[in-house]
């Protein structure tokens, strides 16, 4: 394998606010390190509010106050350039946006400008990167929309005239039409029915394969991870707690949080919901001491309340942050 496309080292990003004179520090991303290779789909899952969106915002350098990067680095090796995301200026970031790196934000169906027709969004973002005269450019866009099961007429619509799932597909089309080296997608298929979702995932996969590009795909839908991703990172309370090949994580999760997550997956035909985790999700302004999962963990000991286990390799390519990982299971 060549040089990784993305290297994230010891990344730390907090929200720092003050309300009613009280300083608050939400430790949304704490010491996260990961690398992503060319031609790889990396999935990110984890509890709601565990910091997934914050992590990828930080990776994409979409940082706005009160979010602050307190440490670590994010370096991309794109095909034509190397970019230290927190060391370059805005202009430089604008130059790589859409062409090298595109970012589909969570709930992004509402970033479309409500008073402009969809056509303008494509012209604004993609026209200069595609480098074709307008009629040809629009033909490319129409063809691309068709792959997402959208009629070309959506170009003439205003966002509010489209259904939730249609808007979501428009943002996927925007992010993929320039065929970037790297795509970051945050819950991009939540509003789609399963039939459309399947073909949208197939399209994303096809583009990825054609170009050998890489993708970070964030979703709660573990079935999507099982079907699409090569590797999977699991976050809990601002930290990456497990990472490995998708097949290994599903077959033999080692971190107790991951084990719970996998065990609680709903399947069609279940006659009762699986049990949720006991206890409340941690408050990241005052995270638990030691391992942040220890108050809810069936395997925790006193040591876990004092110390946080660092990410360590249990097997080649499989890292876990736990002193007492689940025993290895064979297939």
């Amino acid at each position: 394998m060549g040089e990784p496309v993305l290297v994230v080292s010891d990344l730390r990003a907090y929200y720092r606010t003050s309300a009613f004179g009280i300083e608050r520090e939400v430790r949304a991303v704490d010491d996260v390190s990961l690398t992503i290779e060319a031609n790889e789909i990396y999935g990110l899952a984890g509890e709601s509010s565990s910091g997934k969106t914050t992590l990828i915002k930080t990776i994409a350098a979409a940082i706005q106050p009160p979010l602050e990067v307190l440490g670590g680095s994010v370096v991309f090796n794109f095909r034509d350039r190397r970019v230290d995301m927190h060391g370059v200026d805005r202009q430089h970031l604008d130059a790589i946006r859409w062409k090298n790196l595109s970012y589909i934000m969570q709930g992004s169906m509402n970033v479309l400008n409500p008073v402009r027709r969809i056509r303008h969004a494509f012209v604004d973002f993609a026209f200069r990167h595609i480098g074709k005269p307008m009629p040809l450019f629009l033909a490319v866009v129409r063809e691309h929309l068709e792959r997402l099961h959208l009629a070309p007429e959506v170009l003439d619509a205003f966002p509010h005239q489209l259904s939730g799932g249609m808007r979501q597909r428009v943002t996927i089309a925007l992010a993929t039409v320039c065929r970037p080296d790297f795509i970051i997608a945050d819950e991009p298929t939540t509003a789609l029915d399963v039939v459309v979702q399947k073909s949208v995932l197939a399209m994303i996969h096809e583009i990825q394969r054609e170009l050998g590009s890489s993708i970070i795909f964030v979703t709660h839908d573990m079935a999507v991870h099982a079907n699409l991703t090569d590797r999977l990172g699991i976050m809990y309370a601002g930290r990456l707690v497990e990472e490995g090949r998708t097949a290994d994580i599903f077959r033999a999760p080692r971190h107790p949080y991951t084990a719970h997550l996998i065990a609680s997956l709903p399947r069609l035909g279940d006659s009762a919901p699986k049990k949720g985790l006991d206890g409340a999700p941690p408050n990241l302004a005052e995270p638990p001491s030691g391992c942040r999962f220890h108050p809810r963990c069936p395997r925790a000991t006193e040591r876990c309340a004092r110390e946080a286990a660092p990410m360590a390799s249990l097997a080649p390519g499989h890292r876990v942050a736990c002193f007492y990982p689940e025993p290895e299971r064979s297939a």
């Binding site: 969106t53 709930g107 005239q161 799932g165 039939v195």
Partner: protein, 279 residues
Amino acid sequence: MSGALLDVDNVVRTYSGGLLTRRRVTAVDGVSLRLDAARPEIFTIVGESGSGKTTLARMILNMIAPSAGTIRFDGTDLATIRSSRARLAFMKRVQPIFQNPFESFNPMKRLDRYLFATGRRMAGLSDTTAIADAADTALRSVGLSLAEIRGRYPHELSGGQLQRVAIARALISKPALLIADEPVSMIDASLRASIVNLLRDLRDRLSVSIIYITHDLATAYYISDRIMIMRHGKAVEAGDARTVLDDPQHPYSQLLKQSVLSPDPQHRTVGRQGGSSHA
């Protein structure tokens, strides 16, 4: 027709001049459904993206009017609800949870104020501690608390947190009917199980009826009493949820069931191991 909490009779909704500049779009095309007042239930609507689910929900919420057909709530035709008093009385009893939490809150407005305003307007509370208590109770039922939300704006919460605030807000007025448009699509499996259990609880303990719009067939299977499957503005199949999902009759319902992805990397149907990449 007495005994119906909600009676949707052959409603149609068209849009003109919009998406397809010359053609009219028939977003909902002759849909009927009836919820019994004496038997609270979870009525699930699933279906194709763009099939009219949200449009139907907005008509039931009296946010838009049907182009044809009628909707009655508690025997009252929604078209006759005009005065602001009547509107408020209706809104107290029928509460929405919208599809995208990022769209359903005003980004400039603090969430606690939003909840307090709801308590004041919808639940008729005037005492500040009672209002705060009502907000806190509602937030706790979805795994949050007033302390966590206080002073914060919508963009300061994660997607799942914001969606839970939306659910809490809908519960404050103790409605008889909840219209939940994809309430759990941005929530992890564990919290999703708790929220789905909460919906079931609302039905069983507080006799709340729920119209639950979702793409998640696995949760639909275990919480729904009845299900309706929509495509192109029409109901293609409806009935007892388990009967329909165990043995769907309409070709579209069958396709929908077949397309559910398995949470098992050994059986990929998208991606690496070839598989069908068409829908």
